[in-house]
Symmetry: D2
Subunit: 332 residues, 4 copies
Amino acid sequence: MIVAVIGLGYWGPNMVRNFLACPGVNRVLACDLDAERCEQTARRFPGLEIVADLDEALSRADAAVLATPLSTHHALGMRALDAGCHLLVEKPFTETSAQAQELIDTARCRKLTLMVDHTFLYTGAVRKMAALNQSGDLGRLLYFDSVRVNLGLFQHDTNVIWDLAPHDLSIMDHILGGAPEAVQAVGARHYYEHEDMAYLTVRYPNDLLAHIHVNWISPVKVRQILVGGSNRMLMYDDMEPSEKIKVYDKGVEIKDREQVWETLVSYRTGDMWAPRLEQAEALSLIAREFIASIKEGRRPLTDGESGLRVVRVLEAAQKSLTQGNVFVPLAD
Amino acid sequence: MIVAVIGLGYWGPNMVRNFLACPGVNRVLACDLDAERCEQTARRFPGLEIVADLDEALSRADAAVLATPLSTHHALGMRALDAGCHLLVEKPFTETSAQAQELIDTARCRKLTLMVDHTFLYTGAVRKMAALNQSGDLGRLLYFDSVRVNLGLFQHDTNVIWDLAPHDLSIMDHILGGAPEAVQAVGARHYYEHEDMAYLTVRYPNDLLAHIHVNWISPVKVRQILVGGSNRMLMYDDMEPSEKIKVYDKGVEIKDREQVWETLVSYRTGDMWAPRLEQAEALSLIAREFIASIKEGRRPLTDGESGLRVVRVLEAAQKSLTQGNVFVPLAD
Amino acid sequence: MIVAVIGLGYWGPNMVRNFLACPGVNRVLACDLDAERCEQTARRFPGLEIVADLDEALSRADAAVLATPLSTHHALGMRALDAGCHLLVEKPFTETSAQAQELIDTARCRKLTLMVDHTFLYTGAVRKMAALNQSGDLGRLLYFDSVRVNLGLFQHDTNVIWDLAPHDLSIMDHILGGAPEAVQAVGARHYYEHEDMAYLTVRYPNDLLAHIHVNWISPVKVRQILVGGSNRMLMYDDMEPSEKIKVYDKGVEIKDREQVWETLVSYRTGDMWAPRLEQAEALSLIAREFIASIKEGRRPLTDGESGLRVVRVLEAAQKSLTQGNVFVPLAD
Amino acid sequence: MIVAVIGLGYWGPNMVRNFLACPGVNRVLACDLDAERCEQTARRFPGLEIVADLDEALSRADAAVLATPLSTHHALGMRALDAGCHLLVEKPFTETSAQAQELIDTARCRKLTLMVDHTFLYTGAVRKMAALNQSGDLGRLLYFDSVRVNLGLFQHDTNVIWDLAPHDLSIMDHILGGAPEAVQAVGARHYYEHEDMAYLTVRYPNDLLAHIHVNWISPVKVRQILVGGSNRMLMYDDMEPSEKIKVYDKGVEIKDREQVWETLVSYRTGDMWAPRLEQAEALSLIAREFIASIKEGRRPLTDGESGLRVVRVLEAAQKSLTQGNVFVPLAD
């Protein structure tokens, strides 16, 4: 299979590296409007073939990987599909849910695979979180709280929500399942016209509350997700070199509402447990999943629909930002 | 001076211990409706005198310390002031701002000292934060983000906001200064009729955004405040045994908007610095401040007005909770 | 029972507090040559009775607690035993093993309980370590490595080994069991005639190697013990607020010595697990154990023999320090 | 300049990568006896030229990089020098000091550059440590304590001392300066004929004591160096993602020996400070230093002499291991 990587900015070279090493890939082409970037990347990856003309690249390739700015995803994605290429799109998928829907419909029509690069779903940590939830170990989910803050990297064409929150929204989509009911967002702009910090609150049925803090101007890098369940709770700290997932056998029980308060609430504090996580690099698994889903003619784990669900929440969050921070309902 | 401690539940005995050791205090009386608690506390503090009747205690005391449930603060506070006692009230000050105002007015009329126990303002860490801000070291403040979460201790008569957020709101009142414009709150109830977790967002003028996460059902105890300034940023981690305050010489600069983006944003990353903090126990300083402000006839650091300002934000947050999570403006 | 606490310096008041609260103790007496200390302690613990004369205190008491400098342990201990008092001695037990033996013999003769205050053996963490070893979970023990360093508190009459290493030696005595074969010590003096930092190496049978780093001039406080077993390994970090004990399902296997090296060594990396620990204060358990062992006429957990075994290692370590840092054998 | 990398095991490919990117290097050749390794590395680095015959590689190259097992360093190093190649040798430099001396003498005779890959001396952290010491900020050095432990990677031809301690010994050589007086070592073997854990103690003049704990069978990875100075102390924690160096303004003062003890020792506890560190990759700097020192005809920072000094300590430590763990003097 021949894969064309479109865009050689920050993320593109990572894609090049992983597709070069991916079984089933015979050749990797790459395109970028910036000739210097092309040269640099060519020097770094001698197996890579730089193709100056995008249409030529798409016509030669079986599959295209879009690692270009968000504003180009829809147009370039359509061009790739029209050229008959299977398509893997960098997150966030598209600027609007309508664009996402059009890409999904087009891919379906043409029987092409459409996948979104929601990287975290391929990490050992998130797969373990999903397994812990599916097995019922956590009990009923109570909350999901994510803090994703650090200094930089400001994006010039989008705010911090569109840049960082897709990671959390895709993890939530995968783990919490079900449909969020509404989203609310508040942010602040300190340096230019886009928010550099923001808080998202997402309501789910059954009092499940999700909250995301994204921030480009934090002095410390934090990547922490707390998930509260009625049986167990977990913390996912992505900055830990090992033991990224810690499961706490802790909980609260409200017994008899008639009794006096002191005997009514009990707190359970048991062991903590850090399960071993699979170590495979997420990007390598993404490349393999893309190629495998094409070959097997099946939906990839992070298909266009999952990308669309994330874009819908982003769109509603943006609406909340501009409409007085109200909760914006998420239609089914 | 004779001090009467009213209420011997969780907090009262701490007050007893500190007033027993406070210079200028000749005698400490204590009252509680629960005879067993009285006996236990008497055994623990042999210098303490238990007085069964509240009115007798108030009539003998020069100053009263209220460590009773929130719902009793106004009535018992009025009773203490009416008995001619100077008054120190546990946080949160009162259930409503009207109650707070009445206590303030009454104390002023009777020329009695009125103080609220905003404990954190007496810690070395918060005093250092205030000094760093006042000296201009931080530059223009951009945000204040607090996470105050742990497992338990559920309060039976109030939600997590009224229980934990007063700490952050009093720190914000002290450090950020100025008047917050509006507050928004969202929470969830999983066990009984009060919220066990909540997020507060407080808007200040000049794009200063404050946010507080309070939670009784977190498996880990976190006490972290991030303060972003245009010159420097700091993290206050109260769980650190030493080096609770870390100051980061980090920042962002947007230079020339005409230039291309890459050369436009620069990130400054310099040293980190953990200033030495004063070690005195906050509660001991509160006792001393209460006695000193009475003797000197001056306002205490955490006077009734500061308590009122915190209650106003709590009241508005509560309103936001019950009115669709909108931003509720804070009148001057 | 009447308990006399002898010595009101750093440790004595803690003993006073715990024996005052200990069931079965009717009265606590205290003695110290320094009248001011006596007064201070009396103010702090109103239930305490200060007795100026040591002999009077010993004649009135059923049991004595020695919290005086090491150089006085033997003489005062003998005096207490001669007065018919059961005896609890602060660690380290005595200056020499001969002194320890004499106290043990005298107590046995007089049918009095003799106990040494090896505090750590009463903590939930050490009890859990012992349980994990006894159950075979750790497999064959390979090493015990302790780091116990901080800034201060210099002792004027002893070096850092006699001050800090008894903690580790008593933990080793309890957990590793068996008899150490030899000890070697090396240290350095930077400020006065006693070592302010030292390293001890203790050889056990079967290639079990123990090592202790004690240091009064470290900028950071570290309290970490690593125990390597052939099945599992554990880390005990006493500075952690919770999860002090972490058990790692990790190990090494050397398979077939004939095969090529790469396939010969395998590393097993499994889950990490932090068992819940009992929270009771160690000092309170010591007081209870002392009283209970007296009443039941049985050996306390940390009896004179355990104190003697620790003193023997200290003595040999001291000899190593002064005799060219050689390994000094430990006789049975 | 043409560089030949000899040995493509664990470390060789890193050298290939860095020399391929190093300015002034026109071509990189590589040799390994294992044809499969050659093929794999060739695939990974398309700019690399595999040369099957070592002599051919050495005859074509201007400079050789030895990344082969220790036992081959002397023979292959001599062969490279005899072929007229400048030489960079993986640490540890050689098996014996005589071998090291012969390489040094040969390189000097032939006016060839001889360098040893003491990687850590090129990190921002160690360079900052050296600067802090040279500026006198630390005062008189009191101790150097290193813990370098983790699980694996067992070496089949050498023990843990020869594998891990060269890092610490080269840092000590660079920072402590002066000549160590004697070294003592103790270790244990649990799996095969080489020590898998060991403790080294190195005595320096003026009561400066250095100690190194190296261990292949620790469940946690620790890379911590404490340096105690009379003015300030520092901790270098290489596992920290940022703030690897922390400088503590802490110290001890013994004032008047005639006074009573309590007023005699004072502890100074001031700020902590984490200086910004340079981020350049150490391996890239090593490649540049090698090329630059060749071009400029000057000694590299980590020349053969520095390699020899480290080998002398290793040799003496090995002697201590086999001769009853005595201190083995280090001749000048």
